[in-house]
Symmetry: C2
Subunit: 236 residues, 2 copies
Amino acid sequence: MRLGMPESDFPDIRSLEIFAEMDQVHFESLMRGGYVQTFPPHVDLIAEGDPSDFLHIVMSGSIDLFASWNGRDSSLATVRPIATFILAATIRDAPYLMSARTLEKSRVALIPSQDVRAVFDVDSGFARAIVNELSQAYRRKIKAMKDLKLRTSLERLANYLLREQDRCGGAAGFDLPFGKARLASLLGMTPENLSRAFRNLQAYGVTVNGSRISITDQRDLETFAAPSPLIDDDRI
Amino acid sequence: MRLGMPESDFPDIRSLEIFAEMDQVHFESLMRGGYVQTFPPHVDLIAEGDPSDFLHIVMSGSIDLFASWNGRDSSLATVRPIATFILAATIRDAPYLMSARTLEKSRVALIPSQDVRAVFDVDSGFARAIVNELSQAYRRKIKAMKDLKLRTSLERLANYLLREQDRCGGAAGFDLPFGKARLASLLGMTPENLSRAFRNLQAYGVTVNGSRISITDQRDLETFAAPSPLIDDDRI
DNA sequence: TTTGATGCTTGATAATTATCAAGGATAAAA
DNA sequence: TTTTATCCTTGATAATTATCAAGCATCAAA
């Protein structure tokens, strides 16, 4: 349904970092061509290989980026508000390299890719914001690559738990934000081995009850996990 | 030695995609602050964690990007002429996430990062080129991630050989561009297992003699490797 | 309450990958 | 030529991870 963006959404979107510094005229022209939609959980939004017709922006909820090959598939990232996804494909007018689906009920803004490219060419504030977003996405991928190539699966899980604890506010107890099968896929392991990995982390002060995690010995877990800002710090 | 860039290098550098569209005044100001240096093989250029003082551009030779954690290390990418490396760190004024060293004798141009950021802000042609470079680098990383998470080590080697064959012109025989220990690290395996993987690929028509590879049964290897443009095609 | 259905866990086993130790091959240096 | 060093390979073994099959828990529908 191409209805255009309701004006009531303008302020929310305007406050996103990627739109904050751009010219008002350009902003409004982007908004006129775009729209916001709410999707139920577990809905496919895009499929890898498709042409990149829209820039997607997650306003609420969360999105799973994943990829498939030869019958296997793997989760590559979670996108949380407020962030774009598949920006590089949009900018290059190239096919998506990843598929995307909602993990939960999610509100997503869609802006036609050709409009994004057109405004990019004439609005240096927007161009600057896109470079910020792209360079951050690139560095996140480098970190994910280091995590995957330099650590064992147990170390990846330990560091994931520390990052997630931090994201949830730092308390000893917190909930996993999605199912363990997907967590296993994100971490590059099977669900069976994730179960066993959780059991192995008990020795370092981790208790699991359903999706509830308690870090009972912070020091011990951190000693084992040995987190590094050059892999685990999202702000750098 | 900060001697400034010799004018004889200007045309070479000006023809690089990243500098091609920018204003001549801005180009010359970048060149005045930069310089070109030739390094012998196996020289460390930058270390992860260091502040990003210079944008690096490989003019000739080749560069190994790698990372370390807890005493382990892993090669993450090879940079070949003509390309920048560590552009994202330069743009964000953030520490390098990877270390870099020469694989062979290499000529590298160095441009002070602060100059790059300053010109980026005022030259839209340059900003456009930087976005091109960044988005391409990002998509390359996504592909590398899919390669690593979706394929077994034998499949990664098979696809690597097909890509390398293509890069070398497509003939049945070609030479590996660096030692097998580094290839193993790039592919996320040990040198011992790389040896065994080469032996296993004999069954699919691959012959190895030192660093000389011959693909004797192209069809058979491609059937096994099942290359995908969304992972293996560098042009997309 | 029973009945599925789903998601997670467990155990047994197989496959893959890593590690350790030793042995070639090659090429440059003595 | 011998020596030395480097790089690669091989075999034996250990560790890790995946697969398969079964079982348990939770929850919602019947």
